[in-house]
């Protein structure tokens, strides 16, 4: 197990990078996904149609293609990330990180949108009618009756989307980001005789992150189900 004795720092750093990719693009996806779902279920026809098209098209495009398209087209639109220069310890977050975050966000937000929409759709119409019947205003109906139920119902699909995002951060490797898969390739080359343990060790890293997210989501869901 030479790769671990010599490389445990590199291993941890690469997963720190993966985790940062996940956290930053996860938060941004939730924000953009919420905006998208507001467009899709709102009363403005043009936004509803545009949101629907965006979600359908981006969801049917492979993440690699979204990445490539953004990477090639962004500089032409004047979108550059040269200003991103964050260094935490020996880990550098530069324009590569920023491009990966934007591509992951553009892609994941469409799935967030659909997860939230399924939550909204799961609230029975009678709930809204009853809320209006007892004289609640639009704001009251939303904040007291509809959105709490819709949000609770969308926790399981949202968790699945976030879990997929954790695994999708690996695609950033193809575009030169030094995250966990990139580190695995380096180690696979350097310690050719230990490929199986290297693979299992890196898979274990992802499995731990996935199970932590899954655990929290389960906990939230159970907590709210009994409430």
């Amino acid at each position: 197990m030479d790769f671990l004795t010599n490389g445990h720092n590199a291993y941890l750093e690469s997963f720190f990078y993966t985790l940062m990719l996940f956290l930053v693009s996860g938060v941004l996806s939730l924000v953009l996904g919420t905006i998208l779902v507001a467009c899709r279920v709102g009363p403005v026809a043009v936004l509803r149609v545009a949101g629907g098209w965006y979600v359908t098209i981006v969801r049917s495009t492979p993440l690699v293609v979204v990445f490539a398209l953004f990477q090639f087209a962004a500089p032409m639109l004047g979108i550059r990330f040269g200003w991103v220069q964050i260094h935490i310890g020996t880990v550098d977050f530069t324009s590569f990180f920023a491009v990966a975050v934007v591509a992951l966000t553009l892609y994941t937000s469409t799935f967030v949108c659909e997860a939230l929409r399924s939550g909204i759709n799961s609230v029975p119409l009678g709930q809204a009618e009853a809320a209006r019947a007892i004289g609640l205003t639009f704001g009251g109906t939303m904040s007291q009756v509809i959105l709490p139920q819709a949000f609770r119902a969308s926790v399981p699909p949202l968790a699945s989307v976030l879990i997929a995002l954790i695994k999708n951060t690996s695609v950033a490797y193809i575009f030169g980001v030094g995250e966990a898969v990139a580190q695995m390739r380096i180690m696979t080359n350097n310690y050719a005789s230990e490929r199986v343990p290297i693979f299992l060790t890196f898979a274990a890293g992802y499995i731990v992150i996935v199970f932590v997210v899954s655990f929290f989501a389960n906990h939230l869901e159970k907590h709210w189900r009994t409430a």
Binding site: V44, V64, V123, Y206, I207, F211
Partner: protein, 282 residues
């Protein structure tokens, strides 16, 4: 639009207001589109020379035959393998014997929680990265293992979604477990699972694009070859995206049709990785 959970049916004044918002939103969206188009145009992305390859027969043939066809081939092989593996693992997870159930569950959870790309690269190295066909096979095997594990969960959720009375009635008339499964439960479960399986085809098809990391053939590979030669990155990636989206939309339409025809309103809920055993339809 008659009744919505979110807002009351709008009256005449609100409708006028919504129309105004629609116009404003349309203007903003058009401005955005114009900004993107201008940026691309300033860099000559709409020049005929950049698009010429896509009306040149030899390039079109390369895209469709070496690209799309290979991609579809990988996806079809992977899904075929995944259905078989998924059936085996799914039945394994439903087994009454602990020594079958636990290993099946472990395998399913492992491959569902591991990124496909990681798996693909590992298999690629195992097959030998200098072999001609290793990229192709790495994509097929990795996607088989991942999608097979997902389909195992789909199968279990589908079988659990068949009303309990069905198997109880079958047992009551004296059928064995194997008969109950093969004659009564599985035929009904397959109907419920059909849309989910087609949806998984879309996932598999999209994931074939990851093959670019292991030098596998397919749309991305051909696209790369074209833009390395012609230096028309944006048009090429747009064409590749268009081809992927077209096939995926066809599959999506098929899934929606199957949902309407075989399942109806019910939605199959596949539990997430690491979730407690609550796979059932609601």
């Amino acid at each position: 639009m008659s009744a919505s959970v979110l807002f009351d049916s709008p009256g005449p004044r609100t409708r006028t207001r919504h129309r105004l918002y629609s116009v404003a939103a349309a203007v903003l969206l058009l401005l955005g589109a114009a900004w993107v188009a201008r940026g691309l145009n300033d860099h000559g992305q709409f020049a005929y020379a950049k698009w010429e390859p896509f009306v040149t027969p030899s390039y079109v043939q390369a895209l469709l035959v070496d690209g799309l066809l290979k991609t579809l081939e990988m996806a079809v092989l992977a899904i075929a393998g995944a259905v078989i593996l998924g059936a085996a693992l799914g039945l394994g997870k439903l087994s009454e014997h602990r020594w079958i159930r636990w290993p099946s569950a472990a395998v399913v959870e492992f491959f569902r929680a591991t990124p496909v790309l990681l798996l693909m690269i590992f298999i690629w190295y195992r097959l030998g990265i200098n072999e001609d066909s290793s990229g192709f096979l790495a994509v097929v095997f990795a996607l088989t293992l991942y999608n097979g594990s997902v389909l195992a969960e789909v199968l279990r959720a589908g079988i659990n979604a068949v009303p309990k009375g069905q198997s109880e009635a079958a047992y009551a008339i004296g059928m064995r477990k194997s008969q109950v499964m093969s004659v009564v439960v599985v035929p009904q479960a397959v109907k419920i699972m059909f849309p989910a399986i087609i949806a998984q085809c879309i996932v598999a098809l999209k994931d074939t694009a990851l093959g670019t990391a292991v030098l596998a053939p397919g749309l991305m590979y051909v696209g790369k070859a074209i833009y390395n030669e012609q230096h028309n990155q944006v048009p090429t990636v747009l064409v590749v995206a268009f081809l992927y989206v077209t096939v995926n939309l066809l599959l999506l339409w098929l899934a929606t049709w199957a949902q309407k025809k075989y399942v109806g309103e019910k939605k199959l809920v596949v539990p997430m990785v690491g979730a407690a055993d609550t796979g059932s339809a609601v």
